[in-house]
């Protein structure tokens, strides 16, 4: 399924007016770091297992208000997705390997509200790559999340779950933008 960027940007196809807030112009000054876990890395066939999201406001990561959702094949995903969408709102999304997370979500969100997620995205590994390639040299850039954390002198991930990844992405993002 090719992504319709025009539809994504303008919100064409939004069938559920309850989600018009996704397209709001209002600037909350916040972003949301997000990460998902799935049954495989194939975004066409994998099943979503969990999603974690945490808001970033200024230099702060609002860890105390993070959202962690689990998905089960036997349960409808809509209620959890509805919570997630309200949590995200129109905020830009931040993540590591964010394309995958967004693609996994889009597969469920598109049928639900008639359009994919319209949010801006910030890929932290791209930020990191841009930073590293500013320094001339022939060394390959190690883009593994744990390597990035180590290189930026950030605390190591303590978990393997979606929340730990989202938190790590949030920290990388803040460190690289400072």
């Amino acid at each position: 399924m090719p992504i319709d960027f025009t539809a994504r940007a303008t919100g064409q196809g939004l069938t559920d007016p309850d989600y018009a807030f996704l397209l709001s112009e209002e600037d909350t000054g916040e972003r949301v770091a997000i990460h998902c876990e799935a049954t495989s890395y194939d975004k066409a066939t994998a099943d979503l297992r969990s999603v974690a999201a945490v808001r970033i406001r200024g230099p702060r990561i609002l860890a105390s208000q993070h959202l962690a959702l689990s998905f089960w094949p036997t349960e409808p995903a809509e209620p959890a997705l509805a919570r997630l969408l309200r949590f995200i709102g129109n905020r830009p999304l931040v993540g590591y390997y964010l394309d995958f997370t967004v693609a996994m979500l889009d597969r469920l969100v598109q049928p639900m509200i008639g359009m994919p997620l319209p949010n801006e995205t910030v890929e932290v590994s791209s930020l990191y790559y841009a930073r590293k390639t500013k320094i001339p040299g022939k060394n390959a850039v190690d883009l593994r999340l744990d390597s990035i954390l180590r290189d930026l002198d950030l605390p190591p991930r303590t978990g393997d779950d979606a929340y730990a990844h989202a938190l790590a992405a949030a920290m990388v993002c803040l460190r690289l933008e400072a």
Partner: protein, 621 residues
Amino acid sequence: MSDSLDPGAFDFAVPPFDRLTPAEQASLAASLDLGLYAKDSVILKSGERADCLYVVMRGLVQERRGGEVAAVHGPHDSFGLQALFGDDTAGGVACVAAEDTICHLVPRQALVELARDNPAFADCIYRDFGDKLRALASERSNREMAALTMARIRQAYLHPPVFVDATASLRDAALAMKRNQASSVLVREGNGQEGGAPGGPNKDERIGILTGTDLRDLVVLDGRPVDSPVGPVARYELLTLDRDDLLFNALILMAKHSVRRLVITEHGAVTGVLEQADLLALLSNHSQVIALRVDRANSPDDLAQASQDIVGLIRTLHGTGVKVSFIADLVTELNRKIFRRLFELLAPPDLLANSCLIVMGSEGRGEQLLKTDQDNGLILRDGYDCPTLNEVTAAFTARLVEFGYPPCPGNIMVSNPDWTRPLAAYKDAVFHWIHRPDETASMNLAIFYDAAAVAGDASLLAEAKGYLLSRLQDNQMFFTAFARPALAFDTPSGLFGGLFERRRSEALDIKKAGIFPIVHGIRALALEKHMDETNTVERLWALADRGVLDRGFAGELAEAFTFLSTLRLKARVDSSAAGTQTDNLVRMEDLGKLDRDQFKDCLGLVKKFKEFIAYHFHLNH
């Protein structure tokens, strides 16, 4: 899915968080946010209110006040408590990330709830807060905090004492607490009933205390029946202070004994209970506190008593390790208050309205320690004539001598007509000092440049100083002559270490060798830049701000100046204790190894500064 731990999980082994129960730790962990700050970014602006307590996870944070780094916080250290609970003017401290820093943020709400539910935790936090406040109080630029430590217990809110008889049951005690919204009750044992006034002294009675925590422990943990009497379980070793004692002492006593309340007495009778929370509320809320205790003296004799108390106070403060700059602030405040009050008591109202009492030299700079020579003067409004002027000024000088302020050897006192004259005559004198400089003129100009108004109409001094600055052209010759005394005395330097060691037993005049060169050199630079500051350290930083002095060098000089002043105070406190004349002599052999090394470093720095002055003012040509 369960929540994972925070990356670089919050370390609950570090006080005060080690006081939390596992359940409380879990609830705190869930309420934490994270803050990431890049090197050199400002975490808390000066005067900004904080909404959370910051606990450093990684990196380094500096608390800066003016040009100085007041404190450094590394991993596990917390900061922002003053900005969280204190007044928004909490010392004008800015917190800056010295490295890339990550902090755990403990929200105010979570902290307040934990402190409410967990007394041990609250105690730890409050004690830490108390320490911080005291540290703050000893900082130079915080005059208001300085005044705070002079506040009396009387100024704090006291909970009225709630008494129960020793025969009352634990339930009665709990009921009394609830009814009076008190967190403790006082237990009266003995035949206190006939004792007349509540809390009145009674030889047969003793008074104990029972707190809410005690009750909880006794009933809930020990399973004591609620109808058992309070008498045997109350604690009778009360920590008491008089109402007129310093709040500072209350703070120290609480910290020392790890208690959260003190029983306050007046003339030996219990008048109330001082709770730590109220004490901190008062200490953290500057605007409620009057800068110093209100000057209630109605006669010069009342002042004499107050003046005598100062020496004892300085000795106490010095003894408890309070920084010398803070002591200087305090002495300045108190002395000026005494001068002002004395002048107000002696001078008729029209004289007060038409004159300005000034203090000069070290008093003007706010740097005197203990009682120094009088250096004061009176500027009269042009055209005003006071018939009783001579009596007033003579009485003023005489009274100050009586209070223990020695007369000025150079006779720079209001009783000398040369220093009590109309504004126009002061302007003439300034003109003379500038254009016909000799040794006396230079010194007069120097001390007058340091002058500060103490009583009366301060605009008179402002006009005289404005005139002084306006007469100073960029006259190289003048400044060369003015700065020269900075080099007048020899400063033995570490370069000739061996020589120095041999002269170890010789006493060194610390004022001539160290303090004066700094004071006068800085004064000359300040005068050259037409600066308004009078205090040496303030001048130092102002000069650094203008780029006259390198910031690092200014910092070192300020530190050296403070250290030398401390040594000088030490010498003076010791010698005046021994009953000898106060002097400025320091003997190397009397110094500890650390002090001696630092002393040498300071002298080396003074030497360097003198070279700078010589170069700057072309003194070698």
